[in-house]
Symmetry: C2
Subunit: 418 residues, 2 copies
């Protein structure tokens, strides 16, 4: 991808109407565009990051047996009246020109349960796992957290369907482990902790995955030693005793909820008529679980938690590309050799963002590279090519100094790390 083809540009300054660090940086670097408060478009670099996060989640959902679907945004009120959730404030409601009232989905237990009621009839049809990665809509009162809490956002929602609570319990542990892998792979592993939260009618606790960040809206009590936490909403002596946590060892921290897993039991299957016949012919409600991760929120959390004072810092697994290639100096030698290195990287399957601009100086190019936050900055200039050497300067985004390496060495080093 060449700068000269990319339609976005970086801005000299962060937008003045944004308070959230993630939105300020992502807009300044040209990753997203603010349409309205809490409503953001994804521009080429931003969409690449979002897609990589979604693909990591997709792989881990497939690995635990998830079948991918794509449900509708438009929701039928009839289903939501059965579960008493049609009157909530979170809805964006609309209507057909012919008069019928409709809503835009903010979660999808109702629709998924209704679909399953057409296919699940017997214990032999269980268990089943279906998930989607879909745009969702919430009529949020406040929307000042950039893409961390949007009115329109991407959500991966997995729903599981079981013949018994034991089977749900067992799958729930698989999902927990899959979530741990997701946060590890997107580069938030060390900052993200399994957190006990309120569980609803069916289960004492639900589990959240909370990433430490000053921008977090949640407060958790973290045990650094046991690597688990308790959400303030359930924080009490009784709970600490049950979880064998010592109050004085816990740290009170702000955190962003990046994932949530929840045992639903029969909360949705009963009102929506999702029943099955067990081996003895008895009619029973299906036991359900629900498991959410917001890919756009994960992207915002990475921007919030990993960036530094120079700009964004992307883990290589989700970076828009692995290399930020910079040509310095508009000479035939530099032009030819930077293009050659770009081609070598491409042939090796390594994505590079190539700053091939002639009208930008070294300072501007370096500042852009730091702001955009791609893992490796690689410079080809008259200096690196001196005396006929085919060399470039390579520097990791968080490294202080660059090193002079020949072109093959650049390809080798990046291949090993990505």
């Amino acid at each position: 991808m060449k700068f000269s083809k990319l339609f976005t540009k970086t801005r000299k300054e962060a937008p003045k109407d944004e308070v959230a660090k993630n939105a300020r940086l992502l807009i300044q670097a040209g990753f997203i565009h603010k349409e309205l408060a809490g409503v953001y478009s994804y521009l080429p670099l931003g969409l690449r990051v979002l897609n990589k996060i979604e693909n990591i989640i997709r792989e881990e959902m497939n690995a635990i047996g998830g079948e991918e679907v794509l449900l509708t945004a438009i929701q039928n009120p009839e289903l939501w009246r059965k579960t008493d959730r049609w009157e909530q404030d979170v809805w964006f409601k609309t209507q057909l020109n012919i008069g019928t009232e409709l809503g835009f989905g903010w979660t999808q237990e109702e629709e998924m349960t209704h679909i399953m009621s057409q296919y699940i009839h017997s214990y032999k049809d269980l268990p089943k796992y279906a998930y989607q990665i879909q745009t969702k809509f919430r009529n949020e009162e406040r929307a000042k957290s950039g893409i961390i809490r949007g009115r329109e956002f991407k959500m991966k929602d997995l729903y599981s369907f079981h013949a018994s609570t034991e089977d749900l319990d067992s799958f729930y542990e698989c999902a927990k482990e899959a979530y741990r892998k997701v946060f590890e792979r997107v580069g938030l592993g060390e900052l993200t902790f399994l957190t006990f939260a309120s569980g609803g009618a069916f289960s004492k606790y639900s589990h959240e995955f909370q990433t430490l960040s000053d921008a977090g809206e949640d407060t958790i009590y973290l045990s650094p030693e046991k690597k688990i936490a308790v959400n303030e909403e359930v924080y009490s002596d009784d709970v600490l005793e049950e979880l064998k946590l010592e109050k004085k060892t816990l740290e009170r921290r702000a955190a962003i909820e990046v994932g949530n897993i929840f045992k639903l039991g029969t909360r949705f299957s009963e009102p929506l008529g999702l029943f099955f016949k067990d081996a003895d012919g008895n009619r029973k409600p299906v036991v359900m679980g629900s498991y959410g991760i917001g890919p756009s929120r994960v992207m915002g959390t990475i921007a919030e938690a990993l960036s530094d004072d120079k700009g964004l810092v992307w883990p290589s697994s989700v970076a828009p590309s692995q290399v930020h290639l910079i040509s310095l100096g508009d000479t035939p030698d530099v032009r030819e050799h930077s293009q050659k290195l770009y081609d070598m990287l491409y042939t090796a399957g390594i994505e590079a963002l190539f700053d091939d601009r002639n009208d930008a100086g070294a300072g501007e190019k370096f500042a852009d590279a730091d702001l955009i936050g791609i893992p490796y900055r690689v410079i080809v200039s008259g200096k690196t090519l001196a005396d006929g050497a085919q060399k470039a300067e390579i520097r990791g985004r968080k490294e202080k100094d660059g090193r002079l390496v020949d072109f093959n060495g650049v390809v080798r080093e990046v291949s090993q790390k990505s």
Copy 2:
């Protein structure tokens, strides 16, 4: 993918509340679910087809320089008032709890133009091409055409931005050719014709891609010899003369509009303030084009135009898998060898849908294979394995008879065709 893991099932009969063939077949085969009239969910097999169509479109848009983005569904009325399109009936409108009126996007010229106005300032910034594949919403009066005309549907919309009409004209021809490739690759090439349609204020004609089908809502006059057509809306002696078409050689046909390319000129750039400085420093409006294909409509059109009286017929490029593998007879030999062939196909990178059910008979399995419409049906049974042979019966979906081939031959034949 094994039948025993797949949550969907085929139905014995088509749904009674659907009149459109595409919806009847796709629901009966478990590809989609009807949420409301014109609002359909994509189930595992259906989403695979939709994704394959989208990826073919994506590849062809990337090949002509398109940069992929993802704009928002939620739209700001302010932009649409500037182009006088806020008062149209097609909107699903809603509002924030705090009162502001909003709409859900049914096309995106306004938003894309507005975004570009932040990045395009000089002739050096042109041309640029941005596209997205996004869910769109239209408040259609009638929605009886299944996924061919939905109230919620997928749309690929590409927008091009140029310094001159000459540059637009030249790119427009590239886009036309890219569209031709898309319809060729998804298997609609022989049925789809470039069609002259009304052009708006800026251009005499726009161009549609129309696929012949009895289900089509459009009427076109087709020249089978020249392989172009004229939409009824512009059909006149003058137009025929200009296009050098002889009236008596034309066939009047029903067709589905599967794509549309349109020269917008300065219709959107002027009211939305997208101007640039040319080489002489003069301020000029950017010249635009817009290019749409509905992936969900393409899927519906394939279902409509290529299916037969037994069920769906998918071209291999968009089929949910290449092989529909059937095990017949619940013996250890059949179980072991059908699993072996499934593994061999998987190792060769060939996707198979494996009907491994024990509780379904041969007739049911054959009818399901015909209904689902995967390119190859491959049967492993006591008969094909007789005398220790590692053979299977292979039959193309449109072939009358099967052939007995050894397992390696099955892998080879399918590899060559897919």
